[in-house]
Symmetry: C2
Subunit: 336 residues, 2 copies
């Protein structure tokens, strides 16, 4: 199945591009350079480059605004703000996780040093609030409050993820909560900000947030599948990469808590002191299948997508919701 | 001369204590523990402790509110917010600078690890915005906008400070700008937020910000003197500590740019590849004196204090400004 990228993604990127660049240009020269590199606008030497991210979250803000009330212009500050927060979290997560590659380029901290990347992350978080508050309106204030709560959830999710790395036992529910914070919260916030800033009713804002939340959970499930069975050419990571690093992603935690023979054996693999061999990594993938965890993950993705559609249907939107549906489907089909 | 600590400091600490603790308690358990340790409320094992910071910035918020309009209650959210931002910057600066001790205790990153301290800093920055936006008012929005601009200045100051470490030449003006960002901006913001949240006029807000700015510059000058000639018992650092680490503080940058014989010799000491010997460190302190830089720093502190008083006098305050004056004098006399 060939999947065409929805035009909403490129169009969101264009809509926010000048404001995002202008906002980042307000930083001091050092922090600006690191940020512009991270955004893919310049290369490590400072020469112009053009490798922007997907802009999924800005697209969700703008399409949610269009769905809620037909007009996306009022929500542009929200689209810029969520992209800033997303990139703040990427800069800091790469630092904490020691990741050396992102979007097929060396991560910012490997190029500019740990301190510079840390400061650039701080700066993007600081800018996100400033952008939302440029408008002198009650709704801008509500939006900033919503974003502040979301940042707290993001941090809670990342703290839980770091904690899981140190532990041998991770419960299924706490794993769900971790994903809810680390991934779903900002995607939910993107949808609610779009609705909020375009003047939607409280009911519509809540439903669109719910749509984003279910979509965000599904998005992470797909990501987890790709981290195990994804095509290295697409993901930029070697095959079975998450099993090799013994990451406690949702399919794995599902298996570990599955009370099956395969789950017990996977547990032994995750607990052994030495690094797993290639044969063991392959065996791990087999165990995940035997425990029913691959199947569960695919089914759960579908359940979340259905739940997302239901939230959208019940949102009482006055504008078009077609593009939101299309974007959700695209995001969740990228592994097929 | 014996200096008594103004009651405004302990009283500010009491005024914000419950709200600050309540705000931090809203974090996830891991991040909360790191933050509470950093604030001095618990020890490394989680047992109750009581080693709070000075609360200078909250005191400036509350006294500025009282000066502007006689009522400090309206400014409590601002006092909590600046304390959160101050501690965000301490957590991240300790990490970047590799400092292992703060307020006579091991720094948070040495106790909980780099990632946990990084996340705790992120969390406090995120909370600061949330606290200001709890009130549904136009002034809360202005205050959050002011804080966002201040965070950008803080980061610019820290970025410049890190950059100076890598360089042999640091100009006098760029050193002033670094201090303006790293230290004076948040102290200025504390005073302006107090005035703003208590409903003061734009003129009063601007003058009180100016008062805080001059006070902040003077505060750093005193700190720089203490880093060189301060009593180790008071500062918690060995004597001549900033010279030993060849920190480019204002007195040093003044000497390096002084076009004197002593300045030239200090430059050689700062450039030599090997660590300075104790004899060289002592000689460095002499060179600073010969270059006139100790005298300049003391005189500049007085000029800044006079400028601060002038701003306060011209602010058109309707409430009492006595306590603000008293606090400023206390802060700047702590080295005598």
């Amino acid at each position: 199945m060939t999947v065409t990228m929805p035009s909403a993604l490129s169009s969101a990127r264009e809509s926010i591009d000048s404001r995002l660049r202008h906002t980042v240009a307000g930083l001091d020269p050092d922090t600006r350079r690191v940020s512009e590199y991270h955004f893919g606008w310049i290369d490590a030497e400072g020469a112009e480059d053009n490798r922007p991210g997907k802009a999924l979250r800005p697209a969700l803000v703008l399409l949610s605004a269009r769905a809620a009330n037909g007009d996306e212009r009022s929500a542009c500050s929200g689209a810029v703000a969520v992209e800033l927060v997303h990139n703040f979290s990427l800069l800091h997560d790469d630092l904490m996780d020691g990741d050396i590659s992102r979007r097929h380029r060396p991560t910012a901290w490997t190029v500019f040093g740990r301190s510079a990347a840390l400061l650039a992350g701080d700066a993007l978080l600081g800018l996100a609030n400033g952008v939302l508050l440029e408008a002198d309106s009650q709704r801008a204030l509500w939006a900033a409050r919503e974003l502040s709560g979301t940042v707290r959830e993001l941090i809670a999710g990342q703290a839980a993820d770091l904690d899981f790395e140190q532990r041998t036992e991770v419960g299924f529910d706490e794993c769900l909560r971790m994903v809810a914070g680390k991934t779903a919260a900002l995607i939910a916030c993107s949808c609610s900000l779009g609705a909020l800033l375009s003047g939607a009713s409280e009911h519509t804002v809540r439903r669109l947030r719910g749509f984003g939340f279910e979509l965000g959970m599904a998005f992470q499930l797909v990501d987890d599948l790709l981290g195990i069975w994804g095509d290295p050419e697409e993901t930029g990571k070697p095959v079975l990469s998450d099993l090799r690093s013994r990451k406690k992603s949702m399919p794995v935690v599902h298996a570990l808590n599955s009370d099956t023979d395969a789950g017990m054996r996977l547990r032994e693999l995750y607990r052994q002191p030495e690094e797993p061999t290639e044969a063991q990594v392959l065996r791990g993938a087999e165990l995940l299948r035997s425990a029913g965890s691959e199947e569960w993950t695919r089914a759960e993705t579908e359940r979340r997508l259905t739940a997302a559609h239901r939230q959208l249907r019940d949102a009482g939107c006055q504008g078009t919701t077609e593009e939101l549906t299309e974007l959700a489907d695209f995001v969740l089909r990228r592994n097929q």
